[in-house]
């Protein structure tokens, strides 16, 4: 089993089914799923964090959905929508939906717990200065929630990127093609190569998020978060990454 040979063979890096193309598809599916998850998770998280209501219900429900076996759900969705959805969409839609289901809970949890645990002194000071509730939310609570939100997004992204391999199960492209085709054709070098590429991609994204966090989180918050006694660092559990 020579996956180094597979990875370094120039023919595997060229053409419509080559490694760069498949990485592109993989990132495309992942990005669509992540954007959809953000569009659902962030507003919901803000509502829950701001009102303090629905945490058990919404978060519990989201986590329960996450527990569904992804592959089973993928096939089920395909069978259900197949009679009504025409063309390529029938493969894309179930894939995106199962990825979104996996990605929403960490983003949701990061957002509402970030807002709930925003420094009460800062919120109080803002109120004292005459900020409206809306201003407090947008200009104090949300920026304070950013580190946890980013950590949620990060965990969602890793989950999506590593799971997006299942797109290949429904005949789509992406790095999963190498893993699935490698298995079907007993080409284990290809299979291992595909798995390694997924892992590398996940690590690269992980680093980009660490960098992103440094760019967009307010320096004041970072200093707080760096201190071991900080409530942000100790009292708030990281969203559970699986």
């Amino acid at each position: 089993m020579n996956f180094v040979g597979w990875l370094t063979d120039p023919t595997n890096w060229a053409g419509s089914g080559g490694i760069p193309a498949q990485i592109g598809y993989h990132l495309l599916y992942s990005a669509i799923a992540l954007l959809a998850a953000l569009a659902i998770g962030v507003p919901l998280g803000i509502v829950i964090g701001y009102t303090g209501r629905g945490e058990a219900l919404v978060a519990g429900f989201a986590n329960a959905l996450r527990a569904l076996p992804t592959l089973g759900l993928l096939v089920l969705l395909f069978l259900v929508i197949s009679p009504v959805v025409p063309g390529k969409l029938v493969y894309v839609l179930p894939t995106i939906v199962v990825l979104v289901l996996l990605a929403v809970p960490p983003i949701l949890t990061g957002t509402y717990s970030g807002i709930q645990t925003a420094d009460p002194d800062a919120v109080g000071a803002a109120r004292g200065m005459g900020f409206t509730k809306r201003q407090i939310l947008l200009r104090v609570q949300l920026p304070c929630a950013l580190p946890l939100m980013i950590s949620g997004v990060r965990s969602s992204t890793l989950q999506i990127v590593s799971t997006a391999t299942i797109a290949a199960y429904l005949g789509l492209q992406g790095l999963g093609r190498f893993i699935l085709d490698g298995r079907a054709q007993a080409n284990f070098a290809e299979m291992a190569g595909g798995a390694i590429l997924v892992a590398v991609l996940a690590i690269v994204l992980e680093f980009s998020f660490a960098w992103l966090g440094r760019i967009i989180v307010s320096p004041g918050l970072r200093r707080v978060a760096a201190k071991s006694t900080s409530p942000l660092a100790t009292a708030v559990p990281e969203p559970v990454a699986t």
């Binding site: 197949s82 699935l180 079907a184 054709q185």
Partner: protein, 306 residues
Amino acid sequence: MNKRITLSALAVTSILALSACGGGGDPMSGGGNDSGSSGSEIIVGSADFTESQLIGSIYSQALQAKGVPVKEQFNIGSREVYIQALKDSSIDLVPEYSGALLSYLDPKSTAAEPDAVSSELKGKLPSGISMLTPSPAEDKDVVAVTKATADKYKLKTISDLAPVAGELVLGGPPEWKTREQGVVGLKDVYGLNFKEFVSLDAGGTLTMTALTNGQIQAGDLFSTDPGLVSNDLVALEDDKNLFAAENVVPLIKSAKQSDVVTKTLNDVSAKLTTDDLISMNAEAAKGTNLSDIAKKWLAGAGLGGQ
């Protein structure tokens, strides 16, 4: 009355056999050897899927009807496992498919046409194991299209696809992409360049669903799939013998062969057709007991008990 007693005795024996399997864990471990080739009874095995058990059941009941003592040891596992069981005499008889068995015994073989597969297979069998006459019944890969597609393009054979393949999307298992008996062969042997190939599954739910709902227009299915009939699909004739023949053939320990056994099993093979397998698989999918299906077929073929 007599028949009823035999039947209930049979039921009890099979329950005992089944519970023995459940309790003992691996049905192949222990005990198997002693009751193997040494005894006079024939132990009928089968692979771990419905059709194989069904055919095993037919063999078993056909032999019983001729007074041959039989023990059933079904649902053993994959080819790797039951061929081993046959070699070490844990079982004596198992239904096989000619092409698949040949490529298991000789992965390099390229024989596809039924007679070529059978004759090549005869030479490759492990010592002490014989094959009887293959049946015309086959469970092989077929390229299937919907009735509507077949009518629209006037398709009967895979060759007929040549002028229209460019408009059609083909679905099949991922291995088809690089396999001679798949996309590669369809191109080399039949000159077909499909608009696109979608990796789905090997004759499973995904391919069937995508085909019936029009996401793909041609798909890899198996010739004994009841869905071919119930979903109004047309299996295109493989007129250039690209896909290896998969005739059902009894594989037996040579030591257990006798005139009665050979004749009985060959009679079964002669009568069994692919259409029979389709309708029996459909029955089985409805949950009908396999041995009842087998008995009904034997009665219909005139091979049942007195």
